[in-house]
């Protein structure tokens, strides 16, 4: 019976083969196109993620190649500049949605991302987006006093649809704390020897600060100490992510003076930026500001209500090693809009603007054109996004560059250390810390 069905299937397949060959190909039915591997890599580097995800099923060689970390890195490098998009979240009355705006955006409407937790849409928040990997925060509890409890952090790659939930942090918040605020940041660093994604968790209570860092390589949280910073945490995510480093605002007494700090992801330390004081520039107390990634530089965009122009402040290095904020550009006028605020500057120079009335549009500073984006809701966060094959699970061999022999040695070391035996079949599968601990 079994062999019969086998044969039938094979025959059916052969029929289909010839059919497919006939309609797909004209002449080369027995033409073996075996290209050298480096050419295939070159071609694959130019393909979008969607095609590559599909081509993983073509054959074992392709699958192996496409899931190879070196290839993933080179593919990302190839796609980082030409195809970046902006991802932003919208809050409606009951739902939060993630939208993706591809650039050049003049031709395309934003795409709604379908995420695997659609029954928790209300309490979903985007923490950051780096190299195609999103860090999301999911709140399972709706109670205002318990908002900080039962929080799940996730790393998700929407292009490959792979995700991973982070382990729970080591520092748990007792249920009776008041005056508590919570902040997260998502960071990435890459050197020639290693690269790692990290999530920073800041807990501020009773004027004390505790900071924990999650590293994707070690897959665990670690507290960092020796800090005396007063973060101003008014939302769960950080202010901005520039070049893989998350930025936060520090609490200052004045309304016109800001201090920012950024997290050095590699050395796991906070670095202070010079204070930004624009009290002499703007009259009145109501000034909208936003820190953002302005073409890979940290910039503060300042808006006065009623003024169609806005200013971009950036850090400028002076001679003698000192650096200071200075007003770099004035952009505008944004015409036909009463009150607006700036969400993000896309990589190709267009500016995503939200109007007080709920309209969202792209503003092109070169010719003053505006283009409406057909989406309704209150925009919240906006980050740069690039489609990539990066997996949320970082494996040993990616960073330690291990081969199978090294892997075997690690397994043996584990066996000696913990006095247990690991069968060979299982041993092959152990390629991440997470599995190794199990």
């Amino acid at each position: 019976m079994y062999s019969h069905s086998w044969k039938e299937a094979t025959m059916a397949n052969q029929e289909r083969n010839t059919e497919a060959t006939d309609d797909a190909m004209s002449s080369s039915s027995d033409y073996n196109l075996s290209l050298p591997m480096d050419i295939i890599v070159d071609i694959f580097n130019r393909l979008p993620v969607k095609s590559l995800v599909r081509f993983r099923c073509v054959c074992k060689t392709f699958r192996h190649l496409i899931s190879n970390p070196t290839f993933i890195a080179s593919h990302l490098l190839h796609h980082r500049t030409p195809t970046t998009a902006t991802i932003f979240t919208f809050k409606r009355r009951t739902t939060t949605s993630l939208s993706l705006l591809r650039s050049p955006s003049s031709s395309q409407n934003p795409v709604n991302l379908v995420h695997p937790w659609s029954n928790h849409t209300r309490n979903l928040q985007l923490i950051g987006s780096i190299n195609g990997l999103l860090c999301l925060c999911l709140r399972l509890s709706n109670h205002p006093l318990h908002f900080h409890r039962r929080i799940i952090l996730l790393l998700w790659n929407p292009a490959t649809k792979l995700f991973k939930s982070l382990p729970s942090p080591t520092f748990q918040i007792p249920p009776t704390f008041f005056h508590l605020s919570l902040g997260f940041g998502f960071g990435f660093h890459s050197t020639t020897s290693s690269s790692d994604y990290k999530v920073v968790r800041i807990v501020s209570f009773n004027l004390r600060i505790r900071v924990e860092v999650y590293s994707a390589i070690s897959n665990c949280w670690r507290e960092i100490r020796g800090m005396d910073l007063h973060f101003y945490l008014h939302k769960l995510s950080c202010e901005a992510i520039v070049n893989g480093a998350p930025y936060w605002l520090l609490a200052t007494p004045s309304n016109h003076c800001f201090r920012f700090t950024w997290f050095d992801v590699q050395n796991e330390a906070f670095v202070m930026l010079p204070g930004l004081d624009f009290s002499g520039f703007y009259i009145g107390t109501l000034v909208h500001w936003k820190l953002m990634d302005w073409k890979d530089n940290a910039a503060v965009v300042v808006l006065c209500p009623g003024n169609p122009f806005f200013d971009v402040w950036m850090i400028e290095d002076r001679c003698g090693g000192e650096s200071n904020w200075c007003k770099k550009f004035v952009i505008g006028p944004v015409l036909g809009v009463e009150q607006f605020w700036v969400l993000q500057c896309t990589k190709n120079g267009e500016i995503l603007v939200a109007e007080a009335g709920g309209r969202i549009f792209l503003y092109n500073p070169r010719n003053g054109d505006t283009k409406d984006i057909p989406i309704h809701g209150v925009p919240f966060e906006a980050f740069h996004y690039v489609e990539s094959l990066v997996t949320p699970d970082v494996h040993f061999h990616k960073d330690l560059e291990l081969n199978s022999l090294d892997n075997m040695q690690i397994v043996m070391a584990q066996e000696e250390e913990f006095k247990l035996e690991i069968p060979d079949k299982e041993a092959d599968k152990i390629d991440s810390c997470f599995l190794a601990i199990e």
């Binding site: 797909a24 080369s28 027995d30 075996s34 130019r46 599909r54």
Partner: protein, 155 residues
């Protein structure tokens, strides 16, 4: 240096014996030939094995165009490139092999881009037939389970 180079002509001989007279500036767009010329191990005639006359003519046409139009607008060159590489699969394959073997970076870039465009939206079945060739395809599809797996829509 460049003016003296321009006067120099090189003769390229294809695998089937046909000879092409090419200015040296054009010929050295191929890194392999450039190395040969620089090391002065090339006599006047350079044999180009495993590239036949047909393909060699195409490669020379491409290099000539690129050499002439250095000053021209990049968009013109782009349209030329995309038209140039728009060929049948066998010619494309031969061109890739030639460009890879002779190390002509610009041509290889244009060709790879073209193949990428070609296969971007194709299904797994198409790739098996076109990209890997029929023989390998047959071996793969004789596997029953593999087939069921691949018949699913992965989009």
């Amino acid at each position: 240096m460049s003016s003296s180079l321009e006067k120099n002509m090189l003769i390229l001989r294809s695998s089937d014996g046909e000879e092409f007279i090419v200015p040296e500036v054009v010929a050295v767009m191929s890194k392999a030939i450039k190395n040969m010329v620089e090391d002065e191990c090339a006599s006047n005639t350079i044999p180009v094995p495993n590239v036949d006359a047909n393909i060699l003519a195409m490669v020379i046409e491409f290099c000539k165009k690129h050499d002439e139009s250095e000053a021209e607008a990049a968009s013109d060159l782009k349209t030329f490139d995309s038209e140039f590489v728009n060929r049948g699969q066998e010619a494309l394959y031969d061109l890739i092999t030639a460009a890879n073997f002779r190390d002509v970076k610009e041509l290889l870039d244009a060709l790879c881009q073209n193949v990428a465009e070609m296969i971007k939206g194709k299904s797994v079945h198409h790739i098996r037939i076109q990209f890997l060739g029929y023989q390998l395809f047959e071996i793969l599809t004789s596997n029953f389970i593999w087939n069921i797996w691949c018949d699913r829509d992965f989009d």
